[in-house]
Amino acid sequence: MIDLKSLTIALARKKLDSKEFSAVELASAYLEEIKKKNAELNAYLEVYDDVLEQAKRADDRIKKGESHPMLGIPVAVKDNILIEGKHISSASKMLQNYISSYDATVIRKLKKQGAIFLGRTNMDEFALGGSTENSAFGVTKNPHDTDRVPGGTSGGSAAAVASSMALAALGSDTGGSIRLPSAFCGTIGLKPTYGRVSRSGLMSTASSFDVIGPITKTAEDAQILFDVIKGEDVLDSTTINENAFPKNSSKKELTIGVPWELVNGEGVNPEVKENFVQALKKFESLGLKVKDIKLPNSLAQYYIINFAEVSTNLARFDGVRYGLHKNGKSLWEDYKLAKGSGFGRETRRRILLGAYVLSAGYYDAYYGKAQKAREALRKEFKDKFSTVDLILTPTSPIPAWKIGEKSNPLSMYLVDIFTVTANIVGVPAMSLPSGFTETEDKKLPLGIQFMASHGREDLLFEVGKKFEEAMKTK
């Protein structure tokens, strides 16, 4: 029996290379877990039927003496990242029967290394939401309490890793979609610097925010997976040349900035705050300096830009070339029927809101103003990172909520208060498990979030590893 609970990518690599177990044995162990748990958790929308064949090919390569960080490692992939020949739906009825015609760049890189794709994971439709409740194919349940949401939008990916149904997973992050489910499920989630990981083959939600990143059990694993998927790509002109990033320079003393005004704001659960204070104490005892900084609440500008880009990106789903097709009396009616029945409620809502903020009469007041505010925030961040190395906040102001509890869309948007900022300015951010809160006899995971300046993922891995060690010793 392989102990999947304590297994990491780093450990599996050693055991695969030393032939302690084979890739087929490892993949079979995960398939067994999926068979036991997925019916209840609904983390996977589809488990691929060629998992063991993929694993056999990995074993052949291992036998020949090949070794790559991801060779034979079983991963789950969010349902908005393309794998040629496989179904992909973005958890939407609009794409229920759609099949990818090419590989996303991150998939091509992982295939080259010999990673094994277990299946595609559930999400909020078109990555719009914060709980995975907006999936057209049913909610994913939180493995720590099945009455609660796993967070979103990459809820299936985080739930799969947290319940040992995958060793690692790929998610995508538009305003917290990797970090929020990581905090709710007790995993590590990295949102890389915008443009550091290619978006080619990732279905667009809000193109100026979107980025693919890893969901794993340790900071080291996040680093391993990130190193494989990152890099400039001719197929995505917004990717950045690796030479443009600052070279890693490790400093003796790191300074952490804490936006106390936001953290002390109303809406932050007292237990979340207490957990955050305890985490901060750990860093202080590790010798890191802490400084009070000011950060604005950026939800308004985030959502205005999100609505605008979502509305524009989703206009392509018209049922004419692919996806759900409905036959009306005219082409115009075909469009309306396909969009009306193919898109879920939250998706329709954001399409209309996007059309509103972009319309001639309101453009300047909303979208134009939000773009200016975005530029102001970028400048502010540049200043901040000249005085601190990292910014620390809780990942979410509240722990995982009960399924169906948040019926008002605005109340769910407010949960993104700490995560959206990194997407607006494009900096990397990582959510780390920081302990639990107990409610109704269930232990719910909590998370803290670090942001670093552009290209400084190395700092996130460094403090992530330090914090993991500190959490072990209590």
Partner: protein, 90 residues
């Protein structure tokens, strides 16, 4: 906002909506728009919008790309001789 505004936006976005949904969307949108209206308070008088738009050039040469033309054609709702067939628009 009123129900006519929702209808106009739905027509622009080519969305078919039921009367009941129009009403509930109107309520949602009013709530959300009044929240994001906070954007007014951000001081941006001396900020020039900077979209950081520049061209990314490459040599004009044909590079091999792996994709399946067959899979694309197979997913056309209606096709004829490998072409996408659409309704008359004129």
């Amino acid at each position: 906002m009123n129900i006519k505004d929702v209808e106009a936006l739905a027509e622009l976005a080519k969305l078919e909506l039921s009367t009941e949904e129009k009403e509930s969307l109107l309520a949602d949108m009013e709530g959300i728009l009044s929240y994001v209206k906070q954007i007014e308070e951000v001081k941006t008088a001396d900020i020039e919008p900077d979209y950081k738009v520049y061209n990314v050039w490459r040599e004009d040469e044909l590079l091999p790309r792996d994709f399946s033309k067959e899979l694309i054609i197979e997913q056309f709702p209606t096709s004829q001789d490998g072409f996408l067939k659409v309704k008359k628009i004129l």
